[in-house]
C-alpha cells in the first residue's frame, strides 16, 4: 500500500476536450468504413451470383419448353407394310402427312424436315405397340427439329438477309402455315429430363447424365463415407500423437488441396491402366470422386470429433467406459451432424467435378441411360461439357438448362446439409 504514494496519481482527464472528441469521431469513422466495406463485399458477391443466375435463366429457360407440332397420321398401306412394321416407310408417311397439312407445299423432304428426326420413330412405335391401328388415323404430337424450334422461340431473326439465315423464306412460310392452323404448341420439355443424350438437340436429354451422376455419387458415398470416418476416428481418437501421425495429417490436408485433374490422371493410370476397368463407367467415376472426397470427409469428421467437449469423454471414462465405448456411445453420435454436413458438402463438390470424369472417359456420347453402375454413361458436369462443345444452336440453351439442373441439385444437397445440422444440433 505504501507504493501508492510514491506514484503520482492519475491526471484528471477532461472527457469533453477537443482532442478526445476528435479521437472518438475518428474511431467512429473507422468503424463505419469497415461496415461499408463489408456491405460492399457482400453486395458484389450477391451481384455476381445474380448475374450468373440471370444469365443462365435468360438463355436456359427456353430449353424447358420445346416446340411441338400436332399431326394426324393415317397408317395407309401405301407406306406401311403390316408384315414388316419395323422397316416400313415412316419417313414417306410423314412427308405425305406434312404435304397434306401445308397448303401449296410441294417438296416433301423439305416440309418433313420441320419435324424432328425422332418423329418417324414415334410414328413407328405407336403402331408397333398397337398393330390394330393399321388403316386408321391417329393424332401425334411430335417435336420440331432444332431450326424450327429456334424460329418458334424467336431466336432466328426474320429480318436477316435470306442468304445468312438458317431457314429460307419458303421454309419460314411453311412453318407460318402450320402456326396459322394452330397445330404448333410449346409444352414443357419432358425430353430434357426423360431422354438420354442425342445428336439432335430437340431429343437430347439429361436422363443418362442424371443416372450416371447418381451411380457415381452413390459409389463415391459408399466408399468415401465409411473409409473417411474410419480414418478420422482412428487418427483423432486412437492414433498415438507422434511424428508419424503428424506426417499423415499434413498429407491428408495436402490431398484436399490437390487439383481434381490429378486424381483423374491417377484413376486413369490405376483403375483403367492397371486394373483394366472399363472407360466411361459411373462406378469407376465414383471411385475417382471418392479419392477426391476422402480428404474432405476426413477433415470434416476430425473437426466434428474435436468439437465434442472433453467433459463428455471424461464423464464416460469416469464411469468405466472403454475408449471404444466412449467413441461409439458418446463422441460419434454427438459428432454426427458435423460429419453428415461435411460429407454432403464433399459429395456436392464431387457432383460438380468435371476434370477427373473427363479423364476416365465419362464425356463419351452415350444415347442410353445406364441400367447399372457398370454401364457407360456421362455425368451432369461432363454432359454440360459435351453440350457446350456442340455446334447446334439448340444446345446453347440446353447447356444453360443443364447447368440450372446441376445447380438445383447442389442447392438441394446443401439445403439437406443445413437441415441435418439444425435438426441434430445438440447443446451440452
Amino acid at each position: 500500500m505504501t507504493d501508492m504514494t510514491s506514484h503520482p496519481g492519475p491526471k484528471s482527464i477532461d472527457w469533453t476536450s477537443d482532442e478526445i472528441g476528435a479521437r472518438v469521431r475518428k474511431r467512429k469513422a473507422a468503424e463505419n468504413r469497415l461496415r461499408y466495406i463489408g456491405l460492399g463485399a457482400i453486395g458484389i458477391a450477391f451481384a455476381m451470383l445474380a448475374l450468373l443466375i440471370s444469365s443462365l435463366v435468360s438463355t436456359g429457360w427456353q430449353a424447358f419448353r420445346q416446340t411441338h407440332v400436332t399431326i394426324q397420321v393415317t397408317y395407309t398401306p401405301e407406306f406401311i407394310n403390316p408384315d414388316n412394321l419395323q422397316r416400313s416407310n415412316y419417313r414417306g408417311l410423314l412427308e405425305a402427312t406434312m404435304l397434306d397439312l401445308i397448303p401449296g407445299a410441294t417438296n416433301g423432304r423439305s416440309v418433313a424436315a420441320i419435324l424432328s428426326n425422332g418423329a418417324q420413330f414415334t410414328a413407328r412405335d405407336r403402331i408397333i405397340a398397337d398393330p390394330a391401328l393399321m388403316g386408321q388415323t391417329v393424332t401425334l404430337r411430335v417435336p420440331t427439329s432444332d431450326p424450327y424450334d429456334q424460329l418458334a422461340k424467336g431466336l432466328i431473326d426474320r429480318d436477316t438477309p435470306e442468304a445468312n439465315r438458317r431457314l429460307k423464306n419458303d421454309e419460314i412460310a411453311a412453318f407460318d402455315a402450320l402456326l396459322s392452323q394452330g397445330v404448333v404448341s410449346k409444352p414443357f420439355n419432358w425430353a430434357l429430363l426423360g431422354n438420354a443424350d442425342s445428336r439432335f438437340p430437340e431429343q437430347a436429354g439429361l436422363k443418362g447424365a442424371l443416372w450416371g451422376s447418381f451411380y457415381a455419387l452413390l459409389t463415391c458415398f459408399l466408399l468415401a463415407f465409411p473409409i473417411g470416418i474410419g480414418a478420422a476416428i482412428y487418427l483423432e481418437e486412437f492414433a498415438p500423437k507422434n511424428k508419424m501421425s503428424d506426417f499423415i495429417e499434413v498429407n491428408i490436408n495436402n490431398l484436399a488441396a490437390v487439383p481434381s485433374v490429378v486424381f483423374g490422371l491417377l484413376a486413369l493410370a490405376v483403375f483403367l491402366g492397371w486394373f483394366g476397368m472399363g472407360r466411361s463407367i459411373p462406378f469407376v467415376g465414383g471411385m475417382t470422386l471418392a479419392l477426391m472426397t476422402l480428404p474432405t470427409i476426413i477433415i470434416a469428421t476430425r473437426a466434428a470429433l474435436k468439437a465434442v467437449p472433453p467433459s463428455i469423454r471424461e464423464a464416460a471414462l469416469g464411469v468405466g467406459a472403454s475408449k471404444q465405448q466412449v467413441v461409439f456411445h458418446h463422441v460419434l453420435p454427438l459428432a454426427m451432424p458435423g460429419i453428415l454436413t461435411g460429407t454432403i458438402i464433399g459429395l456436392a463438390q464431387a457432383l460438380g467435378e468435371t476434370a477427373p470424369l473427363l479423364l476416365i472417359g465419362m464425356n463419351a456420347f452415350v444415347t442410353a441411360a445406364p441400367a447399372t453402375p457398370f454401364d457407360p454413361s456421362t455425368a451432369l458436369p461432363t454432359q454440360i461439357f459435351i453440350w457446350a462443345d456442340s455446334p447446334e444452336r439448340g444446345f446453347v440453351s440446353r447447356t444453360s438448362a443443364a447447368i440450372l439442373v446441376l445447380l438445383g441439385f447442389l442447392v438441394m444437397m446443401n439445403a439437406v446439409a443445413i437441415y441435418l445440422r439444425n435438426r441434430f444440433e445438440r447443446r451440452w
Binding site: P309, E314, L317, G318, V319, G320, H329, L334
Partner: protein, 265 residues
C-alpha cells in the same frame, strides 16, 4: 462455521482403503507431484486442499488412472486399493474406474435422458440381468443422490435440461450407479450456487456411510464442513495430512498455517 464442531468430529473407521507410497507424476518435463504418501480410510470423507496448481487434482486422477488418458502424463510409485496395486499390468483401468467412481468439476451429464445417464454405467458393465433390475439401480442411485423426488416423473427428459445443481447430483447418481468403493470428486461444487452447494455437501456426508469419498476443493470452509481428514498440498508436495480438526486448528507445518490463515494461496 462452528470451529468447535470440527475439533470434536471423529473418524468412524480406521480401515485403510487406498495406500499411496512415493507417488510421482510428471507432465512431460514438469514434475507435478513429488513423492506423495497418503493412506485414505474407508467410509471417510478425505479432503485435498491447496492453492491452484498444487497437484491435488493430479493426485486425485491417479487414484482411478484418469491420468492414463493424458498422453504426456507419467505416474510412478505405488498406489494400492485394498492392497492390490492399481497400476499393475493385469489391472484393467476400465474396470478400476467402475470401482473408483469420479465426479467432475463441471457437471457433465451425457446429452441423453436422465434414465440413460444413470443406467449407462451398469449397462456397459453388464451389472443387471433385466430391465427391472436396471430400473431398481436407477431409482436407488437417484435416491442416494437426493434427486429422485425431483426427477422421478421425467426420467425420459434430457439430463442437460436440469439445473446446474441437479446436473451435478445426476452426475453423482451416475457415478454411484456402478456401486463404486471409492468416490472421487474434483471440486464438485465450484460451478454451483450456494444452495446447490449445500445440497451436494449434505449428500457427500450421507454417501460417507457407504463409500470412501475423496474430495478436492478450493474452499477451506467446504473442506472443514464435509471432511474428516484433510491433506494439504503445496507446489506438488503433500505438506500435511491429518484429521480435519487438527489441520484447521492446530497445523504442524508453517505452510499449512499460512494457507489456512490466508497468507498463501
Amino acid at each position: 462455521m462452528n470451529d468447535m464442531r470440527i475439533v470434536e468430529r471423529t473418524v468412524d473407521s480406521h480401515q485403510t482403503k487406498i495406500t499411496a507410497r512415493g507417488v510421482q507424476v510428471y507432465y512431460g518435463e514438469k514434475h507435478a507431484l513429488k513423492d506423495v504418501d497418503v493412506d485414505i480410510l474407508d467410509k471417510t470423507v478425505t479432503a485435498f486442499i491447496g492453492p491452484s496448481g498444487c497437484g491435488k487434482s493430479t493426485f486425485l486422477r491417479c487414484l482411478n488412472r484418469m491420468n492414463d488418458t493424458v498422453a504426456i502424463a507419467r505416474v510412478q510409485g505405488d498406489i494400492r486399493l485394498d492392497g492390490d496395486d492399481i497400476y499393475d499390468k493385469r489391472v484393467d483401468p476400465v474396470q478400476l474406474r467402475a470401482k473408483v467412481g469420479m465426479v467432475f468439476q463441471k457437471p457433465n451429464p451425457f446429452p441423453k435422458s436422465i434414465y440413460d445417464n444413470v443406467a449407462y454405467g451398469p449397462r456397459i458393465h453388464g451389472l443387471t440381468a433385466n430391465k427391472a433390475e436396471l430400473d431398481a439401480i436407477v431409482e436407488t442411485s437417484l435416491r442416494k443422490a437426493a434427486l429422485w423426488n425431483e426427477v422421478k416423473d421425467r426420467l425420459a427428459e434430457s439430463g442437460t435440461g436440469l439445473s446446474g445443481g441437479q446436473q451435478q447430483r445426476l452426475c453423482i447418481a451416475r457415478a454411484i450407479a456402478t456401486s463404486p468403493e471409492v468416490l472421487l470428486m474434483d471440486e464438485p461444487c465450484s460451478a454451483l450456487d450456494p444452495i446447490a452447494t449445500a445440497q451436494v455437501e449434505e449428500l457427500i456426508d450421507e454417501l460417507r456411510s457407504q463409500f470412501s469419498v475423496v474430495i478436492v476443493t478450493h474452499s477451506m470452509q467446504q473442506a472443514a464442513r464435509v471432511s474428516q481428514r484433510t491433506a494439504f498440498f503445496h507446489l506438488g508436495n503433500l505438506v500435511e495430512y491429518g484429521e480435519t480438526g487438527q489441520i484447521f486448528t492446530n497445523p504442524k507445518d508453517p505452510r499449512t498455517e499460512s494457507y489456512i490463515t490466508g497468507r498463501i494461496g
